[in-house]
Symmetry: C2
Subunit: 314 residues, 2 copies
Amino acid sequence: MIRTPICDLLGIEKPIFQGGMAWISDASLASAVSEAGGLGIIAAGSAPGSYVREQVRELRERTDRPFAVNLMLENPSADEVAEVIVEERVPIVVTGAGNPAKYMKAWTAAGTKVVPVVASVALARMMERAGAVAVIAEGTESGGHIGETATMPLVPQVVDAVSIPVVAAGGIADGRGVAAAFMLGAVGVQVGTRFLVAEECTIAEEYKDLVLKAKDISTVATGRSIGSPVRCLKSPFANRYAKAEREGAAAEELVALGTGALRKAAKDGNYDEGSFLCGQVAGMVTRREPAAAIVDDLLEGAERALREATKWVS
Amino acid sequence: MIRTPICDLLGIEKPIFQGGMAWISDASLASAVSEAGGLGIIAAGSAPGSYVREQVRELRERTDRPFAVNLMLENPSADEVAEVIVEERVPIVVTGAGNPAKYMKAWTAAGTKVVPVVASVALARMMERAGAVAVIAEGTESGGHIGETATMPLVPQVVDAVSIPVVAAGGIADGRGVAAAFMLGAVGVQVGTRFLVAEECTIAEEYKDLVLKAKDISTVATGRSIGSPVRCLKSPFANRYAKAEREGAAAEELVALGTGALRKAAKDGNYDEGSFLCGQVAGMVTRREPAAAIVDDLLEGAERALREATKWVS
């Protein structure tokens, strides 16, 4: 059994977070992860408050364990979702793509703990000062919206910079990655890509098939030209987007090109038009299984690796 | 003490490779690392055979321990350097930027062991088939010429794909990174950036100062537009190069822009015109010290982390 300080801090049994992925991480997936003892995370994505409220209530019908809502601060309904988080007494909120400072007071008053995703030391420090109870240091190998620094150099630099617990994200799909994250100083991990193929994940089967077939070099980061890199599987959509970037397309044009592409991937499994968000670990994801089996495999694999850690030491 | 199978395979005492960095890794640095028990590596860069011969001989005056020559296969004098490696009976050759298949027979006949740097599973498999005794799986967080996959997802995927030993490179600057690399399945590490500030490293003091001042987000990868990404410190040169790329400069124009920039950084410490190759771990590099102290700190830190690996396991 592996239990770290993040478990006590958040009231969870196992130090495994399931990444908040827009159009993907709904009550079905999040409740399965929370019920398995990890931290299930409902992603608000760009959805309105009503969607988040509905998902939170649905999750609570399935589990009474702690869970989180992921709020992308670029969500046009961010203010509304922030209020729903208070009204529904959501125990934990994970924030991404910005600075949640203006919501911190209301959330803290409501007993909601705040765990921001950070891609740099400077943002980690700012979040600690703003009252975050922990941070998720996410490397560029992750799927979806990413920063530029990879997990291996990012995690120890964030660990050295803050005194709150650090959760590692990016590049972790099995127990070896969990064990490596602990060596870097993290006390938990966030895993996205491997949960894409969880049985409780409601995305289109075509999306799951693409992840299962992917290799180590099957992803690409698009959007760097407009300062907003996003990692997804190489696909007709990704090719068109990359071509537009190379040809110097304006930001509005690129945003228009991307609109609806996440839904087309997650809901329709539309290979030609969808943006299939996915991390560089896709090549390690090889089977559909229940979310609970993924949580347990991550920890059992980590325990094996950690117990053998001194095999070269004498 | 940490001793792994790569030590026996190559006849070295400690599983620490010093990265082969063009214009940087000369006999001075490489002999210090080899004498400390690690694997010192002389970089041929784009230099002719005569330079490599001179450096090999100089190293041998300073140490009788094993060392390697790094041969970038894009070196215009690659054939000549490959021959010098045979003539000088260099014990180990590390190859980068291509497929060394055409030299393998001559090297093997001369008793030279081949350890290619790889950035993908496919190249690792190809190198194993060609007769490599080990591979260095190098993540995108490294300095210099890079691939796109980060160390955390790359290393376990390469470990699963080949049966020869795997050395991890990219994002490693202290014992935590070494321990993490072991958890991922590597049996050694290659470290570049931290050795930039070794006392025996002969680069300009201005270069060392820039590395010591760098933070987690101080590097940038240029050259992606021509399929040849290179990671260096953000600098006037890097800005000009990135601007030219954004404006759609042709490959020849970019190559011309880059010519001489490595020398201007390493030899002249020319801040405005130099290309200061550097990895994302620069923020963890905080002091000048002898190469032997770096080797020992890496291993002592790893040993500490590995001995505490089960602290969360019960």
